[in-house]
Amino acid sequence: MMVAGRSGIGTPTAQHRVAAALAFASQLAHLWILPEEFSARPLVGTFVFLAAVFQGLLAASLLFGPGRWAVRLGILLNATLVLACQPVEKVGTELVATTNEARNAPKMAYSARFTVVGPVDDIRHARSNPWRPGR
């Protein structure tokens, strides 16, 4: 695990640098899909934008020796997005089945899922979708 120094400003370790690279890669993935997402669905796009900002700040912070707050917040938010994605989507879908008013729930779940697995899923979908021409 990444460990911050006692002062709260740590010296970046190799683990920090790897984590920073991953956060930066995640930011780039979000930035890659941002123009299309924002053009088509501004609210989803805003979520993607905020995720990109968050990952970029996290990457920079990790690279220069993060404080505890940065490491913990980074782990917490990324873990939340990964772990919460499936249950929220399931609950959202069930809500939709019973009430029209809740129909935005799966869309929010979709946004959360998108933050983490969306880019990968999108690439996979584009490659495997046989009935969509030109993809």
Partner: protein, 523 residues
């Protein structure tokens, strides 16, 4: 307080990577959306262009019981706005496409040759035909330039072979239409999966008039007094090109529109038969207008201004798929995309020299007016509107219904994107209803916002609207029903003709492209 060089670097990196980079990336779609919202067509002086009438296509050959046509879909330049050239994708390179005139029980085979840069599919809207000729969204005709993976052509299970044994070239396909249905105003248009909206917008639509003896015997206005009116709205860029807010204007990548058009593309210029706000000189006699709302998303509430003394100038004699049993006079006619109204207007109720404007009571600004009629001469009346039209019209009876199904049409929005039927996006492999061949079914439809709902193959009548009687514009045998936000509409549909897989969908073409479509399979 002294800030170290390292801290400066850290702050710089955080500002640059964390904020400037995302902000810079965000500026691209933000400016694209802003530009999209501000496109306004070049000004056009209204009622200065004469109404063009699409040419009637001649068959390439006739055999016993069958007429053969060939249509090449190609790119061309057409003067739509005076003094400017517009690139259109047209059937035979014209917009709207040529009209096909067919006779009941005389088969038509249309060879569609694709010289466009994209795949196409052609749907005869309102036609009863076998599934392989229905223009299923994934039954594609590949483009001539080979830019399309040929493995997806015929994905619906069909091949390039046709009933009469013709084999199409790689970029051609034969569509066979039995025409075993009453006279009606049908139309053909593109139906490519995910891209119907932009491809119709660029010009891929034309009329298909089916005639029969019943109609012949009615002595409705004919010849020059039978005029098709294909009403569409478009927005143009300064150079005269169509403006359609595609995410990917090449139409070969991501489908869908910019968020500014998520609920439909609405143009600011009204075209009739491809001309902006045209005029038509008429005599003081009856005229029959076959009106098609060929717009992607716009509803029209049509009325004549001024109305003639006594009112109700729009005498409807037919609807989507055939003549009415008796004429019905209206002051106004509300129509959603893909609906047709077959209407007779008696200009003898006006004075010679008068000008009458066809207005769109739902329009705003430039879209309030559609076209103008100029009554400029006296002529002898030779037509009639009989009290009885198609008295043997076979409309589905809800009392015969075997099954009742319910479908909810829910549009996507800024949050999520895709539009759904019963909360499911279109999946070509999923079948949501299996009506029996020849069966009548009741379908209860619910719309969350404005949706024109179209069933392929099946014709239906509107049984009720929001628990009450159908609206005046619901009359007759239909293939598309107008639904306003929150509407509950009950229809009785008959699944006649052929077994196989067909689609039903919202005919707001942007909703359709965003997956508001589903399959039914006639078994």
């Amino acid at each position: 307080m002294r800030i170290s060089r390292r801290k400066y670097l850290e702050l710089g990196a955080m500002l640059g990577v964390g904020l400037a980079l995302p902000m810079g990336t965000l500026s691209v779609p933000v400016s694209r959306l802003a530009a999209s919202a501000s496109v306004v067509s070049p000004p056009v002086e209204r009622f200065t262009v004469p109404l063009p009438v699409p040419p009637v296509l001649e068959p390439v050959r006739r055999e016993e019981g069958i007429d053969y046509y060939e249509i090449t879909q190609r790119v061309s330049n057409q003067e739509i706005l005076p003094g400017l050239k517009t690139e259109v994708w047209g059937y035979e390179g014209i917009f709207p496409g040529p009209t096909i005139e067919a006779r009941r029980r005389r088969k038509v085979v249309v060879r569609q040759i694709n010289e466009l840069p994209v795949p196409v599919a052609v749907h005869l809207h309102g036609g009863i035909m076998p599934p392989e000729s229905d223009g299923y969204p994934t039954d594609l005709v590949a483009p001539a330039n080979g830019a399309h993976d040929s493995s997806t052509v015929g994905a619906h299970g069909s091949s390039m072979h046709t009933d009469d044994g013709h084999e199409g070239a790689a970029n051609a396909r034969d569509y066979a239409y039995p025409n075993d249905q009453p006279a009606a105003t049908l139309w053909y248009h593109d139906h490519r999966m995910d891209f119907t909206g932009p491809q119709v917008y660029r010009g891929l639509a034309g009329l298909y008039l089916l005639r029969d003896e019943v109609e012949d015997d009615l002595h409705l206005p004919r010849g020059e007094r039978e005029v098709p009116l294909v009403i569409q709205d478009r927005t143009f860029e300064e150079d005269g090109s169509f403006y359609y807010p595609s995410l990917d204007p090449s139409l070969m990548g991501e489908h869908g529109t910019l968020a500014t058009a998520i609920n439909g593309v609405f143009g600011d210029t009204i075209l009739v038969n491809g001309a902006p706000w045209p005029y038509l000189e008429v005599s003081n006699t009856r005229y029959r207008f076959r009106m098609l709302n060929g717009s992607n998303a716009r509803f029209y509430d049509l009325a004549l201004d001024p109305p003639p003394p006594g009112g109700k100038p729009l005498v409807q004699v037919g609807s989507d798929v055939g003549l009415l049993d008796k004429p019905l006079a209206h002051n106004r006619l509300l129509g959603s995309p893909a609906e047709r109204f077959d209407v007779v207007v008696d200009f003898s109720r006006y004075e010679v020299g008068q000008e009458v404007t066809l207005k769109n009571l739902e329009g705003e600004g430039r879209t309030k007016e559609v076209m103008r009629f100029v009554i400029n001469r006296k002529e002898k009346e030779e037509s009639a509107v009989p009290e009885e039209l198609a008295s043997e019209l076979e409309v589905p009876d809800p009392n015969d219904a075997e099954v009742t199904r319910r479908f909810q049409f829910i549009a996507g929005g800024a949050w999520g994107g895709m539009s759904t039927i019963n909360f499911k996006v279109f999946d070509p492999e999923r079948v949501d209803a299996r009506p029996r061949l020849g069966a009548t079914e009741i379908w209860d439809l619910h719309a969350d916002q404005d949706h024109p709902i179209h069933l392929h193959l099946a014709h239906f009548r509107v049984v009720s609207r929001n628990g009450g009687p159908p609206a005046p514009y619901d009359v007759g045998l239909k293939d598309t029903v107008l639904m306003r936000a929150g509407d509950d509409v009950r229809i009785a549909a008959r699944f006649d003709g052929y077994r196989g897989k067909y689609v039903f969908h919202c005919h707001n073409l942007e909703h359709e492209d965003m997956m508001m479509m589903a399959n039914f399979e006639v078994v």
